[in-house]
Symmetry: C2
Subunit: 196 residues, 2 copies
């Protein structure tokens, strides 16, 4: 039996990602992935026992890419507020390039009940940690102090998920800035007129 | 063939809801539901062709209950801000009583791809509409003016979903008020110190 190589695995997952992105989940067959990746079916099955193992590997790969992109984009930004805008932009951009990931994540969450791995957990934990780090930086810099950091991080990330899933395309240019403005400073002008 | 009656259907869905709430999805068998509802297996299958049809009916029922509860709770509240707190409280309370609904909703979303009905859509649309109505009321009353209502409604409801799913139990007493305060007025004190 030949050894498995990361480059080969990468090639097959790249092909799988492409197919999941253009067809519906149940329409993607292992045969199609082998053809798309230009490998034999035997090779594909040597790397992934079945479709489930393959999409979980794809999700693990996406999780790592997601975290790397988020880290790179936030490190490049200067100051806590800009970093918060950068992480929001990075999240929107990542899912807009791979909208089928929502479906794969939901499937994996359901399979979790049967004891399957949930490879997206790392992405979830790491994103929360990055957001908390930015909150700390805001407080140290003196640019903004989040009152209830744990509650706020969930509100921001959960809210963003809904915006990505349910709001229209193309995205407004200032979407990330608008989200951060609403999040930090409030979505409303409070008490804008006297209460008669 | 005897006619189907809503009361009978209700009895079986009540039993199904109870089982989905205490066991994992794949552990709930049609047999168990028939036993729990004290009906014959034949009767259960006369109402629901299979487990999928049954859980979709359960979700349709939950969707209606959800919307009724939200309407009743918001109508009882006085003023837009109190109504916003009331709708947040009602959403948290509903899902805390039936946390298995997240799983059923995710399953139904996945089945949607195969052309199945998605009975939770009504709840989603109606909740957004109720939130938008409250925003309008706030503007008319002069208590708060939401700058970007569509974006804000998604941020609020998506954020709340994450809070319900991922934050700790028991809930802080002021959770709904905290969520609304963060949402309307901002999660942070902005520029709380000079930027050196």
């Amino acid at each position: 039996m030949r050894t498995k190589t990361p480059a080969y695995s990468e090639k097959m997952l790249e092909a799988a990602g492409k197919l999941f992105g253009t067809r519906r989940f149940h329409e993607v067959r292992m045969d199609d992935v082998a053809t798309e990746a230009d490998v034999s079916k035997g090779t594909l099955y040597r790397y992934f026992r079945d479709k489930e193992e393959m999409y979980l590997a794809l999700l693990a790969r996406a999780s790592q890419q997601f975290v790397s992109e988020l880290r790179a984009r936030t490190e490049a930004a200067d100051g806590a507020r800009a970093r918060l805008v950068a992480i929001v932009e990075a999240i929107v951009s990542f899912f807009d390039r791979q909208p089928h990931l929502f479906d794969l994540i939901q499937r994996a969450e359901i399979r979790r009940e049967l004891g399957a791995a949930f490879p997206w957990q790392q992405a979830r934990d790491e994103t929360l940690r990055l957001v908390q780090d930015i909150f700390k930086q805001g407080r140290i810099e003196g640019t903004f102090a989040v009152r209830r950091p744990e509650l706020a991080a969930l509100l921001l990330l959960g809210g963003l998920r809904a915006v990505i899933r349910f709001s229209g395309q193309p995205r407004p240019i200032h979407l990330a800035k608008d989200v951060v403005d609403d999040f930090l400073g409030g979505a409303a002008v409070v008490g804008h007129a006297s209460n008669n």
